[in-house]
Amino acid sequence: MASYSGGKSNGGEGSSHQELHVLAVDDSLVDRKVITSLLRKSKYRVTAVDSGKRALELLDTEPNVNMIITDYSMPEMTGYELLKKVKESSELCQIPVVIMSSENVPTRINRCLEEGAEDFLLKPVQLSDVSRLCNRVLR
């Protein structure tokens, strides 16, 4: 699957590979299951939530999130809107955010990268996408 890279990587702070914590955000139950398994196979600790609102609630209480991977198309708060809120926050802006989407829309992709997304993955996401992404973003 294609991915579109942009910006510099902001990794965790010297955590061991096994302790790196990824927050996955997707309103689809099936996709949450799949992305969680892909990330856990790559040995990351994963928390999966079903909305941008829940993601922000968790980020408020859980400081140790090393990367956020979020679906673009979600009701109420899109992945782009979540990305903006993260990048506008002084506490959260250093966390790399990756967007996933089933639609290859160049204007959407560019908008996300310009807003500070680390990468943009096209769904269905595969293990090779996750491995390449995490090797680059989380060191």
Partner: protein, 146 residues
């Protein structure tokens, strides 16, 4: 080994599902993930998908039976079904979803109803095959654990 005939049946079933485009390469990704995640992963994903698809198809049916169809909501539901079917490798269902979205974007109610019937047909066929697959996997697991 007692499970050998069931393993052969399962292999034949999966091969035919790939050959007839019920499944695509994404399903092979999930099979690889099962090897890492342990038995039960594929069962869980397939079961989640079938439940999700059934729910969405029912919602689409209700939406298309409204006197004034909200094509925005119809499109959102089809988009969701397309997403989850792509994620599990349910190729034929995903392809019909694309057709559905095209007629939906033209606000073509009759076209949407026809597309929904097609989705229902494709999903029913796939679900039967998934059920057979899961039954065979269970039989294999039971025999191999003895």
């Amino acid at each position: 080994m007692a499970s050998a005939p069931f393993k052969a049946q399962l292999t034949d079933l999966l091969n035919s599902m790939f050959a007839m485009d019920f499944l695509d390469e994404q399903f092979k990704e999930l099979q690889m993930l099962e090897e890492a995640s342990g038995p039960g992963f594929l069962t869980e994903v397939v079961t989640l998908f079938c439940g999700d698809a059934e729910r969405i198809i029912s919602q689409l049916d209700a939406l298309l039976n409204e006197p004034a169809v909200d094509f925005g909501k119809v499109d959102a539901n089809v988009h969701q079904l397309k997403g989850s079917s792509s994620s599990v490798g349910a190729k034929r269902v995903a392809l019909v979803c694309i057709k559905f979205r095209n007629v939906c974007q033209e606000n073509d109610k009759e076209g949407c109803i026809a597309a929904l019937h097609e989705i229902r047909h494709e999903f029913d066929e796939l679900r039967k095959k998934f059920q057979t697959m899961l039954q065979l996997e269970q039989q294999i697991q039971d025999l191999d654990s003895k």
